[in-house]
């Protein structure tokens, strides 16, 4: 190797951008609340935290819908989703309704386009066909214990390879919710499992194995990577959420004066409530906190706040049949 070549480095920034660019872009606006993080891609792990009833599962479902919708006309990714349901809250009819809403929107715009004398570009796809194709790309499994979860993770390897062979690679892996067996694993004896000198089925051991499996699966989905999205329900009750819900109105009035201070305070509270083992916390790259509160018109208003990376803005949205809608303040 001559000196000049060595000094030049392996590749220029431009060639690197050209190489990895197509893999990282266009992943961003999955769900309205995600629009603030623009570079979410297949090596990231997003954790959606929140109390029960803060639209965590709904959030994950929206991302899954975006992922499976066709590129042509719908702006989806035309990929597959693997969904691990750990707390049994997945509702297949809700998924169907969300997809239907997107298909109706699409058909309506197509019709308007034609009425305005637009070109009839290509054969309009049958709505039912699109629905079937989309729903066939969401692979679902259900687990009732950590061991079942681990063995499902191991065997999802086959599922990933199968989806790849159809040309619709798995782009998102959803776990809802990661803390479902927290108490069971904590209660397990930490040196159990028969064989000596191992962590066995303790919380620590299980989370280590989960992280290891997820990394393995991510390597398997080269080159697109695998975006891991998990929800995490609160295990410990907090003084913060309840208080905020009730005094939401008052807080809003003072928000301008001491918003930074208050947010730091709240963030501190959130960190104190972090209960998952360190091995999991290190694995998570992005964290979003969802909260719900009752608005004046008796509608439930949800807020989304990025904790990692920490952003100062809080998005507010409502949930409708067709998905999330951001409210402008």
């Amino acid at each position: 190797m001559d000196v000049e070549e060595w000094v030049m480095g392996h590749e220029t920034a431009q060639s690197m951008l050209r190489r990895i660019g197509p893999l990282t872009i266009a992943v961003a606006p999955l769900v309205p609340a995600l629009q603030r993080i623009v570079n979410l891609h297949g090596r990231h792990v997003l954790e959606v935290a929140g109390a029960s009833g803060s639209a965590k599962s709904e959030f994950l479902l929206q991302a899954a819908v975006k992922c499976v919708l066709p590129k042509q006309g719908f702006g989806g990714w035309e990929g597959s989703v693997v969904w691990f349901d750990l707390d049994g809250h997945f509702d297949v009819l809700r998924l169907e309704r969300l997809l239907q809403a997107h298909i109706h929107d699409y058909e309506a715009t197509r019709q308007r386009h034609e009425e305005e004398g637009g070109e009839h570009e290509d054969e309009m796809e049958d709505g039912e066909e699109v629905l079937k194709a989309c729903m066939e790309r969401v692979y679902y499994t259900r687990c009732y214990s950590s061991l079942e979860f681990l063995s499902a993770l191991k065997s999802s390897r086959n599922q990933l390879l199968r989806a790849q062979s159809y040309g619709k690679a798995v782009r998102i892996l959803v776990v809802d919710s990661i803390a479902a067996f927290y108490w069971l694993d904590r209660a397990a004896p930490s040196n159990g499992g028969g064989s000596s000198g191992k962590l066995g089925l303790s919380l620590q051991g299980v989370m280590q194995a989960v992280v290891r499996e997820l990394k393995e699966l991510r390597n398997l989905s080269h080159p697109t990577g695998l975006l891991v999205m998990v929800s995490k329900c609160n295990i410990y009750s907090s003084n913060f959420t309840d208080g905020n819900d009730r005094f939401g109105g008052i807080q809003k009035e003072n928000a301008e004066e001491d918003s930074t201070h208050e947010k730091d305070f709240k963030r501190l509270g959130q960190q104190q409530r972090e209960f998952m083992p360190a091995v999991w916390q290190e694995f998570v790259t992005h964290r979003l906190l969802l909260k719900s509160q009752v608005a004046d018109n008796n509608e439930t208003l949800f807020t989304a706040e990025w904790l990692r990376p920490a952003l100062l803005t809080i998005d507010e949205f409502t949930v409708h049949d067709g998905g999330f809608r951001l409210t402008t303040r």
């Binding site: 692979y139 009732y144 065997s155 051991g205 194995a209 009752v294």
Partner: protein, 327 residues
């Protein structure tokens, strides 16, 4: 979980087993949890790689497996009726048809706010109207067969025996026979009963005398067996176990599960559901009950629902023959 050498997989030859054992991997559980498992890289011999792949296939067969959501939708459509009407018009309207099969519904409210009345009304309506078996797990001596028969009388028609049409008494008797009452007073008996019901349903063992299917399981009141054991890791683990078996009964055996929970004083004296944050995630639907003693109305509001917006309300009145809409 079984030992690897008992699985009978042809690729698990003695030499492969020995190489696994050298890493401390003796059972399927070790295979799942062990740190040394088992990357499929170049350092592995061909026999080992094949053994790992076969083990993964074995796990896939043993587990619940992966289904496409399209297949789940088709199965759901094929199964037919999904909602069990509660027999109380205003509640059915609130829930858009009644209790949904495959979900856990929780009724939350203070003492004598009408929770048990709803439980018995639903039991009466499902046993009589849907001609299905009902499991009624009673943890606080609140079940009353007399009250149930009054409610059945209200459904069959006629306030007293003298006003009823012919055959009505048989109908009531038939319905009473399909309500199975269990008295359970501690968490361990509860877990064993629920697991036994699950096993029986999976093995399609007939419950009771008639060839009817069990479609509704009521636990009134779930919190009174859980609350005494809370406060510590073990207690929470037992609580989560009970939540999981309830969900299993709902999802795998397609039951509608109805449980009740009492309230405790939250912040500022506001009543909130008992059992804390972890339990909050377990029911799919949660209804809140408040009794207004002046008008003798029970007010119900939706606290949590998977598919519809919350904060909707309704009310009903408790009468001798059942629950009647307030308006």
């Amino acid at each position: 979980m079984p030992r690897l050498d008992t699985l009978g997989l042809p690729s698990l030859t003695p030499s492969v087993l020995a190489s696994f054992a050298a890493h401390g991997i003796l059972s399927v559980e070790d295979f799942l949890v062990s740190e040394n498992t088992l990357k499929l890289d170049e350092t592995r011999s061909e026999a080992q790689r094949q053994a790992i792949l076969d083990l993964v296939d074995y796990l896939e067969q043993q587990s619940w497996g992966f289904r496409t959501t399209w297949r789940m939708r088709q199965e759901l459509k094929a199964r037919g009726q999904q909602y069990l009407p509660t027999g109380c018009e205003s509640l059915d309207k609130l829930l858009e048809g009644g209790l949904r099969e495959g979900t856990v519904t929780e009724l939350v409210g203070g003492s004598s706010s009408g929770k048990t009345q709803v439980c018995m009304q639903v039991a009466a309506n499902v046993s009589c109207g849907c001609r299905a078996m009902v499991g009624y797990v009673d943890t606080c001596h609140s079940f009353s067969a007399t009250r149930l028969s009054h409610m059945l009388g209200g459904l069959v028609g006629g306030r007293d025996a003298s006003q009823r049409r012919a055959g009505a008494a048989d109908e009531i008797g038939e319905a009473m026979k399909s309500v199975l009452h269990y008295s359970i007073f501690d968490i361990f008996a509860m877990l064993s009963l629920l697991n036994q019901i699950h096993i029986n349903l999976c093995a399609q063992v007939q419950v009771g005398e008639q060839p009817k299917t069990l479609r509704l399981l009521i636990v009134d009141c779930a919190s009174s067996v859980i609350a005494p054991i809370l406060g510590g890791t073990q207690g929470h683990a037992l609580m989560v176990s009970m939540g999981i078996i309830l969900k299993k009964l709902a999802l795998e055996n397609h039951l509608a599960v109805l449980i009740t929970n009492h309230t405790v004083g939250g912040e500022g004296g506001q009543p909130k559901p008992a059992l804390g944050e972890t339990w909050k995630a377990i029911p799919n639907v949660r209804l809140h009950f408040v009794r207004d003693w002046d008008s003798n109305l029970c007010h119900v509001s939706v606290m949590k629902h998977a598919t519809m917006s919350c904060n909707r309300q309704t009310a009903f009145r408790i009468t001798r023959t059942g629950l009647k809409p307030a308006f």
